[in-house]
């Protein structure tokens, strides 16, 4: 029999980003005993990196007057290209203002309304009313009819996460950081907790709970080139899918941002183009007007991304050790403008690329940014297929974003879902009884011990984890990117099929002692390739274009056949995913035109 430490709680939350911490707080406030697991200290979670803001229809700022949950609802459904669950979008928009105000009560220093006249970029004059002075203000974001995005300067995610974590600390909630969930304990019907690996010592542990919540964030790192933190590897999603009974929803819905800086893939915000920056190719030709004569660089986010990739494919990309890229040119805006209005961009360029945008061109390429897909849940946040398993935040497909999420809607999702689903979890947990046998725990720990042994002893082979990983990243970036077509997607599926087989034969060189980092990567690789496979297979099957999913060979949205959500299962023992479909819930707003203009018939994704 195995020898391992067991920790038990009412609620186990895997992930200490905004979503996980908010749900933990909701459960703890109901008197439940909660443990949170996280790869890193909570404040280092990826939520901290969000700069732009969080949407809520407070309607305090001059350009937000008249905003309401109804207006927010319409924006969100259009943004999703009618791929979202409308009942969920409704819950979301109604609760977002409460969530923002509660974060304020807890300590977020939201920027506030300052009364008086202001001149905007384009010369229009607005006036903030003295009656609203001191209330939470908002900024403009893409795809929103009103200024609705609440913010704290350029550090919204940071302030939200720090304040949330301060409540977690205040409530005395147990956090085990540097702990990685590597498998979900279940009997095919009910979830009992997880097997985790301590990233300090390498020891396996068991966490049992009445309710288990996956809040592990997105999977940006499958693409290699991503604006996401390097811990965003989708592990919560693949351990859920590995149960064989829990499906992932809409994995093919992947959002790209036009200007990730090469090679660090840190985000250069839309502000650079908004202020008049140009995109240039290897001949320094400004190419956007050739493709989009009207909107040029300011077409919607996904349109610009598509045009850039199209241009690179035609052979106009700039060669670099990090792959081909294009240039962003802001030099003509002048030193004064760059060092004041675009200071943040200038700093990123200096710190991470060692270039001065006053004199130098900025190397950029469209970059993976957000995962709309994830663990499919019902409106109460419970995963399909396993009783007692919940999912929230970017890891989940709750599904309020459909095929395209609007900027500012994901931070809002984390806090609103944490609050609303947190209540549901508390309710469920209070009534739940569970009885888990030691035999089941032994069995699940045994499986993981066996995997680790196989990796260390190279029993199944000696494939190099980093090589497989690089090939997987390249396959997704090359064939399952912004432009998709049947031929490329088939190539990707074939390649991922091969990589999946190779991922089963990984062995490690490091010996795997203690908290060995190569072993940690090796334990993840199979699951990551599975997720990549689901993305490619889902995209190949979906013969239409919707939101961020753009098929050159099927450029139109096809509501007659595809107003439905992909559910990707991976049956135990299978060598490929199994795709099923379910209808999208339409409760208020029937499918129609998104109204984003001629060149941007597709998604407008919003800033940052």
């Amino acid at each position: 029999m195995s020898n391992y430490d067991i920790f038990s709680s009412d609620v186990l939350v895997v992930g200490a980003g905004l979503a996980g911490e908010r749900a933990a707080v909701a459960a703890a406030e109901k008197g439940l005993n909660v443990i949170i697991l996280s790869l890193v200290p909570p404040r280092r979670s990826h939520s901290t990196a969000a700069q732009g803001g969080m949407q809520a229809s407070l309607g305090n700022s001059a350009k937000g007057l008249g905003d309401s949950p109804d207006v927010h609802f319409v924006d969100t459904v259009k943004g999703s290209d009618w791929g979202c669950e409308q009942d969920v979008a409704r819950i979301f928009v109604e609760n977002a203002p409460i969530a923002v105000r509660q974060m304020s009560y807890w300590g977020v220093p939201w920027n506030r309304v300052v009364a008086g006249k202001k001149i905007l970029h384009d010369g229009t004059e607005i006036e903030d009313s003295p009656e609203k002075e001191g209330l939470i203000t908002a900024r403009d974001f893409g795809g929103t009819a009103k200024w609705r995005t609440c913010y704290t300067s350029d550090g919204t995610g940071h302030t939200l996460q720090f304040v949330m974590d301060s409540i977690v600390i205040k409530l005395g909630i147990t956090v085990h950081d540097r702990t990685e969930a590597i498998s979900i304990i279940h009997d095919g019907d009910r979830c009992y907790g997880v097997v985790a690996r301590c990233l300090r010592t390498g020891k396996l542990r068991v966490y049992t709970a009445k309710s288990t919540v996956i809040a592990t964030g997105g999977y940006g790192r499958l693409y290699g080139a991503s604006t996401n933190a390097i811990i965003n590897e989708g592990s919560g999603m693949f351990i859920a899918q590995e149960t064989g009974v829990v499906p992932l929803g809409n994995m093919e819905a992947v959002q790209f941002h036009p200007t990730g800086i090469v090679p660090s893939w840190i985000l250069v915000t839309e502000g650079a183009r908004g202020d008049g920056g140009y995109l240039r190719d290897k001949n320094l030709h400004r190419f956007m007007p050739d493709y989009e004569p009207v909107k040029k660089e300011l077409a919607s986010r996904d349109v610009v991304s598509r045009r850039m990739m199209q241009h690179i494919r035609k052979g106009y990309g700039v060669e670099s050790p990090y792959g081909e890229h294009l240039w962003l040119d802001i030099r003509h805006l002048g030193e004064k403008h760059i060092n004041t209005n675009l200071r943040e961009i200038a700093n990123i360029c200096r710190n991470f690329a060692g270039i001065d945008p006053v004199h130098d061109l900025i190397p950029v390429r469209p970059t993976q940014h957000y995962s709309m897909g994830g663990i499919r849940t019902n409106a109460q946040g419970m995963a399909y297929g396993l009783e007692g398993l919940f999912a929230i935040g970017e890891a989940a497909c709750w599904d309020l974003h459909g095929f395209n999420r609007l900027g500012g809607n994901s931070l809002a999702e984390t806090v609103v879902a944490g609050m609303v689903i947190g209540e549901e979890i508390a309710k469920y947990t209070k009534d739940a009884s569970y009885n888990v046998s030691t035999k089941l725990l032994d069995e699940f720990v045994g499986q993981q011990e066996d995997r680790i042994d196989a990796l260390i002893s190279n029993r199944n082979g000696s494939e190099n984890v980093y090589e497989i990983r690089r090939e997987m990243e390249k396959t997704l970036s090359t064939y399952v990117g912004i432009f998709r077509n049947g031929k490329d997607l088939q190539t990707a599926v074939n390649k991922l099929d091969e990589l999946y087989q190779r991922s089963l034969k990984v062995g490690i060189r490091s010996g795997g002692k203690g908290a060995d980092p190569e072993l940690a990567s090796a334990l993840r690789i199979k699951g990551m390739v599975r997720l990549a496979y689901c993305i490619a297979a889902g995209a190949l099957n979906r013969t239409e274009s919707r939101g961020s999913h753009f098929r050159e060979d099927y450029p139109k949205r096809d509501d007659a056949n595809w107003l439905k959500r992909t559910l990707a299962y991976w049956p135990v023992g299978a060598s490929k995913p199994e795709l099923k479909y379910e209808p999208v819930k339409i409760t208020e707003l029937p499918p129609g035109d998104r109204g984003y203009g001629e060149a941007s018939a597709q998604a407008s994704a919003g800033k940052a």
Binding site: V40, S45, S166, I167, I230, N351, F352, S510
Partner: protein
């Protein structure tokens, strides 16, 4: 670009295997355009030594994970460009924190304990009313709080602080800055006397010798000097009133 061959002397030690002595290990990496230490360390791990331990999360100077001593100076490795480094560079883990292995240290536990000691959350008797409008605050007040709240808990200020070496329980510049953040916040109802209990000691503001190594080392430019003197002034007055 003619590529330099860079040499890195990296500290190696695993506290889980104390029988193996700490040592410095030499690695060589060919420099590439726009290379950062994030790229270098990953290359070393993937191509030369898969056991090397280090921490990066955001790789964008936002999360505070990757602080280490680069040629003796505490700084964020993710925003250190190789083009600013000499041909030979020494990388050491941050001192003052528990070593987890090689370049990885446990800043997370240190900062959580600091938060507990300073009770770093808003103290209020008010109850949240989901139906009410938010309480008002001036934008200037909000910005001042944000200025102190920007700390990413990287530990650079702690690692370079003389007092930390003498007083292991010293809150450090980051801790005192955290207290300043709540003192500035109108929502926090703690009195000066209550704050005095937290920082009015030699482990708090009165231990600081004011040489400002912290201020020089803070990678995101928190005005630590100003925050320290703000708290010290307030606490001197509060102490005098006792």
């Amino acid at each position: 670009m003619s590529n330099r061959l860079l040499t890195f002397n990296i500290f190696r030690y695993d506290p889980n295997t104390p029988e193996i002595e700490p040592k410095m290990q030499k690695f060589q990496v060919e420099e590439e355009e726009r290379m950062t230490l994030f790229i270098v360390l990953n290359k070393i791990r993937e191509e030369q030594d898969p056991t090397l331990k280090f921490d990066f999360v955001c790789r964008a100077a936002i999360c505070g994970s990757c602080a280490m001593l680069v040629n003796g100076k505490p700084t964020l490795a993710c925003k250190t460009l190789t083009k600013d480094l000499p041909n030979e560079t020494t990388l050491m883990p941050l001192p003052a924190f528990k070593l987890l292995g090689d370049l990885s240290v446990d800043t997370g536990t240190w900062f959580r304990e600091m938060s507990i000691k300073t009770e770093a959350w808003v103290h209020t008797d008010k109850v949240f009313d989901p139906k009410a409008e938010e309480e008002r605050m001036s934008n200037d007040q909000a910005l001042a709080i944000y200025e102190a709240e920007r700390c990413i808990e990287c530990g650079c200020c702690i690692a370079g602080c003389a007092t930390v070496n003498i007083r292991p329980d010293f809150l450090g510049a980051a801790g005192i800055n955290r207290v300043a953040r709540f003192m500035l916040d109108p929502r926090d109802e703690r009195t000066e006397q209550e704050y005095f209990e937290v920082v009015g000691s030699d482990d708090g503001v009165f231990g600081c010798v004011g040489l400002m190594a912290c201020d020089d080392n803070c990678p995101i430019g928190i005005p630590l000097q100003g925050q320290l003197s703000y708290v010290r002034r307030k606490m001197a007055v509060a102490g005098w009133r006792r």
